[in-house]
Symmetry: C2
Subunit: 219 residues, 2 copies
């Protein structure tokens, strides 16, 4: 039996380990979980006891195979629920995270596979993040940060790195939702801001920060 809190910690450790190859530190986990280092240490002992992580005092942690499976299953649930909320209930992509954060913990035998079927086996969630399949296999997509494009290159929006509602709402306003096409016209050396043109002929100037948080696929 794995509690909601334990599941959330495993997911946090998974996310940290995705970015950095080395063991996840107590502080990094505390930051991700928005809690204190002391609380994290408490939990790490419990997770190690259950063989969900390898934990060496003062040395950080890594997920075991089992811990990694639990985290992957949780991410699958989270993202499938997000697809449901957007595709079926009509929420926008900036509204669904907190709901999915709760729904991911609902457990039942066939629930997620049935939901997956109902949704048509989506491979990516509303933020462009890949959804692992029932066996835990991931889809990968050829994508780069908008900031790495060279002037003249055309691309389509495939995802975001920053998932904050503020950023997502700003992208909505700019019309840069998933699938939106664009062409990089110019990068201003002064502040690395980007001038882009959309298929409908609009020209936008995007900050360096936007460029570093928007994934695109070069076409």
């Amino acid at each position: 039996m794995i509690s909601h809190a334990e599941e959330n910690y495993l997911k946090a450790i998974f996310k940290i380990s995705e970015k950095e190859a080395k063991a996840a530190s107590t502080n990094a986990i505390a930051a991700e979980m928005q809690t204190t280092a002391a609380s994290v240490t408490d939990m790490l002992k419990r997770l190690a006891e259950k063989n969900l992580i390898d934990y060496e005092k003062y040395r950080g942690v890594q997920l075991t195979t089992e811990g990694s499976q639990v985290a992957t299953a949780l991410i699958r649930k989270h993202r499938l629920w997000e697809v449901f909320l957007v595709d079926k209930l009509g929420f926008s992509w900036d509204e669904v995270h907190d709901l999915a954060e709760q729904l991911e913990h609902v457990q039942g035998n066939n629930l997620i596979d049935r939901l997956d079927t109902f949704l048509g086996h989506p491979k990516f969630d509303p933020h462009g993040d890949p959804i692992p399949d029932a066996e835990g296999r991931w889809s990968f997509r050829q994508q780069v940060l908008l900031s790495t494009l060279k002037p003249g290159e055309r691309a389509a929006v495939t995802g975001v790195d920053d998932h904050s509602p503020a950023f997502l709402q700003y992208l909505d306003q700019l019309g840069l939702t998933l699938g939106a096409g664009l062409e990089l016209l110019e990068r201003f050396p002064y502040d690395q801001s980007l001038r882009v043109r959309t298929p409908d002929g609009r020209e936008l100037v995007l900050s360096e920060k936007v460029g570093q948080n928007l994934f695109v696929k070069i076409s």
Copy 2:
């Protein structure tokens, strides 16, 4: 802020109060919640503290207006999720209760009203139980227990009193799902068992127990 446990107690008290007009007793709540009387007493103090129930030591409890609203909202959520699981995900009516028991606690601003819209504003759940609307208003239906029919009367199945998977699966086997038509042919005085005929001409003999747990609408 109301916890999951508190919500469940309020729902239990609501259910007990539906059947009996008087105050719900500690033992009745303990039975409904499958816990001990001592745990119930603990919780009753907390709920009274939050003005969700009127509680007098040794005298049982009644929901306040606010407590009743919380319970009604919870039942609405539970039953809408059950409709979702059956209508959209293809679960059968005997599989959905435990899942809905978890889903009912997911909280978010528009979630339930959007789900309601997505489902087409259903008035009854997969077990024939009424779904209160967003303002807490209940639909009522003219229905009686099958056991009260007189020979020669025709009726259609509208709901169940016993919600156990065993009973629901037995009804599936008999073809007595929601909406199924039937005619009472005969009641055997010896054990009050019932001989009924279905529209397709089959004849069934149903025990007194079945008759007392199946709601029908006389046609």
